[in-house]
């Protein structure tokens, strides 16, 4: 037990960081457009991310239409198909998932959950969003550029990414993609500095690191990882831009294209792969760790139980974050690397499964004999756990070199990563939106529409990705635009059609969610303050939704951790973090 004051009245120290008022808006522009309020920036981030995410959703429909019914849709040429898969992947991984977890949830929740008035550098925070917005605009512009967007695959592997055989390779597509990524990374760095320093410096009195909700631990660790990992993509993007525009040969070997010797020579595509995956693998956890944190909080609140093994959960987040920097080359087993490297990276990959499995056990043990309320956030959290487990298990297959080599570049890999980093984090995003929507809007989302949304999404996602594993096991390669019956057995063609119908249905269910969101914003049932009876600080603001500055006149003082649920002897089934109450039953706890 750490040294804390037993008497809450005498134990409140003066604040170490002065309580400065956050910058106030002086007009329409600074209030509604260039706002410096983290909550508003969070909504700007989320709105932009969801809007561009809808583009990715439509692209996935087009991809599935082509795969399920090859040759039926004339407008989907091979070039267009490559452009669709590239933009779908890049948008989902970078512009939706990273942006919404860190820019959206990070901005909204960090100041509220640690008891701060706002982010520590509000102006830089505002710039961060506008850089992100510019990155999205440049990305969208590539759809309208001559030659269309790049079709290099979301990994943008050279040399093909900047050759004429790839859509957008010698036109504007790849240039706009790289510029957009560079803008995104600069914007993220500005935001990331804010998230990290706010957690470090602006915690209110009593909020020790080990009293922070796991959501904040997840977002904080993911931010630090992203700050270390994104520079790798930045360097790779700048170097490729040099290769494409200025004729350098960082990644370009000597090449003969269409019978013509190109001016490139000596460069190494493998260097790009190292840089890309040094970013790319931590990126999986940059998305997963905030999801881990959020799901822990959803489970604790909606099962009315303290999180099992909080300390282990924190350590697991940090250990996963650290280990994720030494597993990147498991994406490169077929790049011709030294077998001992494969052995090393397979070992580290299997080791990282240990803290991850520990988290899954702890979620299940938190649920064990809990007072489980099957609310929408809880349903999505449960959906996350099983999906993440499924996706994680196939990850163990792919982490082993001998199994990975035959499965490499098949639909099995596509099914694996969609389960683990597509469906699973998106389950958490939905769960989190259903959970925090009352805090943001003061209204509840429709439960009935939510149930339809959940079940169609959950069952539909399995209808899409579970059979896809079998398609991969048969040997169907990914990134082939035309998988017609002459190329694959009839059973696979039928399965592909089934998957496509499921995908179109799941996509349509998301439109139902958007309708629910828009309808409830205006007509939803008014939420009472703290409708989920949560103990964490964001629900204890003087007003709900919280106003500018979050906390009224006085910053809150924190007396306990965020998981005080079903405490024996307490008058309610939760004790808020800022509640100085001292339950009688507490005194005999060692």
């Amino acid at each position: 037990m750490s040294s804390v004051s037993e008497d809450p009245d005498s134990g409140i120290p003066p604040a170490e960081v002065p309580d400065l008022p956050p910058p106030h808006a002086h007009g329409w522009w600074s209030r509604w457009v260039f706002s410096q309020d983290a909550k508003y920036i969070a909504l700007q981030y989320s709105g932009t991310a969801i809007a561009i995410g809808m583009v990715a959703l439509v692209l996935s429909w087009l991809i599935r239409m082509q795969l399920g019914f090859p040759g039926v849709f004339d407008f989907i040429s091979a070039e267009a198909y490559y452009q669709f898969i590239t933009m779908h992947g890049m948008i989902m991984v970078v512009y939706l998932l990273t942006a919404i977890f860190l820019g959206g949830f990070g901005n909204y929740l960090i100041p509220l959950m640690v008891g701060a008035r706002d982010m520590v550098f509000p102006f830089v925070n505002m710039l961060s969003f506008w850089m992100y917005f510019a990155a999205v605009v440049v990305l969208v512009a590539s759809f309208f550029a001559p030659g269309g967007p790049t079709g290099a695959g979301w990994t943008l592997y050279p040399p093909q990414a900047i050759l004429s055989g790839t859509p957008g390779g010698t036109g504007w597509g790849i240039v706009l993609m790289l510029v957009s990524l560079i803008l995104f990374i600069i914007g993220f760095t500005m935001g990331g500095l804010n998230y990290a320093v706010t957690v470090l410096q602006a915690r209110t009195r009593g909020m020790t690191l080990m009293r922070m909700p796991l959501t904040i631990w997840g977002i904080f660790t993911a931010t630090v990882m992203a700050l270390l990992a994104f520079p790798a993509l930045f360097v790779a993007a700048v170097m490729m831009l040099f290769d494409r525009l200025l004729g350098t040969s960082f990644f370009m070997p000597a090449l003969v294209e269409m019978g013509q010797q190109l001016s490139y020579g000596g460069g190494s595509p493998i260097v790009f792969q190292h840089l890309f995956w040094f970013f790319g693998h931590p990126e999986v956890y940059i998305v997963a760790l905030p999801a881990f944190g959020i799901v822990s909080d959803l489970i604790a609140v909606h099962a009315r139980k303290n999180i099992f093994g909080y300390r282990m959960m924190v350590w697991a987040i940090v250990i996963i974050g650290a280990l994720s920097f030494i597993v990147w080359a498991h994406h490169m087993y077929v790049s011709g690397m030294h077998p001992y490297f494969g052995f090393f990276f397979a070992t580290t990959t299997l080791i990282i499964a240990v803290p991850t499995a520990l988290k899954v056990y702890n979620w299940i043990l938190t649920l064990w004999r809990g007072d489980i309320h099957l609310t929408l956030p809880m349903l999505f959290a449960l959906g996350f756990i099983v999906t993440f487990l499924n996706g994680g298990l196939t990850g163990l297959f792919l982490g082993n070199v001998v199994v990975d080599v035959p499965l490499s570049d098949t639909m099995f890999v596509v099914a694996h990563f969609h389960m683990v980093m597509g469906v699973a984090p998106i389950m958490v995003i939905f769960g989190a939106i259903y959970h925090w929507f009352p805090l943001i809007s003061g209204r509840m989302l429709s439960h009935r529409l939510g149930l339809i949304h959940f079940w169609v999404t959950f069952i539909g996602a399995y209808a899409i990705f579970f059979p896809m594993h079998y398609v991969g096991l048969v040997g169907v390669p990914r990134r082939y635009p035309d998988i017609s019956a002459s190329f694959v057995p009839d059973s696979v063609a039928t399965l592909n059609a089934f998957i496509s119908v499921a995908a179109l249905t799941v996509g349509a269910a998301q439109i139902l969610f958007l309708f629910n969101f828009a309808w409830s914003l205006r007509y939803g049932r008014k939420a009472e303050p703290n409708p989920w009876r949560a103990a964490s600080l964001e629900w204890q603001t003087p007003e709900m939704p919280p106003r500018h500055g979050n906390w009224g006149k006085e910053l809150p003082v924190v007396y306990r951790w965020a998981y005080e649920y079903s405490v024996p002897g307490a008058s309610r089934d939760f004790i808020a973090q800022d509640d100085p109450g001292h339950p009688a039953s507490w005194s005999h706890v060692p």
Binding site: P13, V235, T248
Partner: protein
Amino acid sequence: MSIVLGFVALVAIVALTWLWKQGVADRPWLETGAVTRIPSPGGQPTGRAGLGIFLIVAGGLFALSGSAVSMRMGYADWFEMRLPGVVWIGLALLVLSSLALQAASFAARRGDARGLARWLGAGTVAMAGFLMAQGLAWVRLAESGQSLAATPGASFFYLISGLHVLHVLGGLAALARVAARHGRGPAVAAPAIGLCAIYWHFLLIVWIAMLAILTGWAADAAALCRAILS
């Protein structure tokens, strides 16, 4: 990738030590009451913490660039480039600029307004000199046939020195903002000048490390260490 792995390991050690000091072994489910203090990281002010994290990001960027060079060096067509002499004059100016900023920081803390103005001026002039030296180095390289796309070494030199110059320009912009506060007295400007001095030292250390990698000295030193150890 060994350079960037070494960098990440360094960051991890610092982060884990810090976390340990912050009480990550506490059992929050057993405690109640407000803690007596919120430990901030070494009692650092917010700006200092922000700069520290930015330096980790920028350090990572250069470590990754260095890693890319070292990977590329392993290929048969790599040859060590001869850098023009003006690069070393630039380095000397960077050292002077760094020293001047440190002196300015000391002057600000002493409350010596004249000393602050003088050292700030000296630091800025030296840094401007460094920028000119870098520009001249690029011209000399191009004149000697080592243009951007000519040789792998030259490509990396332009890329890395370009990234470094961008960081220098960002630093100068920040310094200009700080200098504008100078009128309000050295005591007001002292913390910000201190941060600028730290950033200047970072720019110097990074440039020395990058030169060591680009000239092949770092690889020679690593080979020597390996020979001694084996």
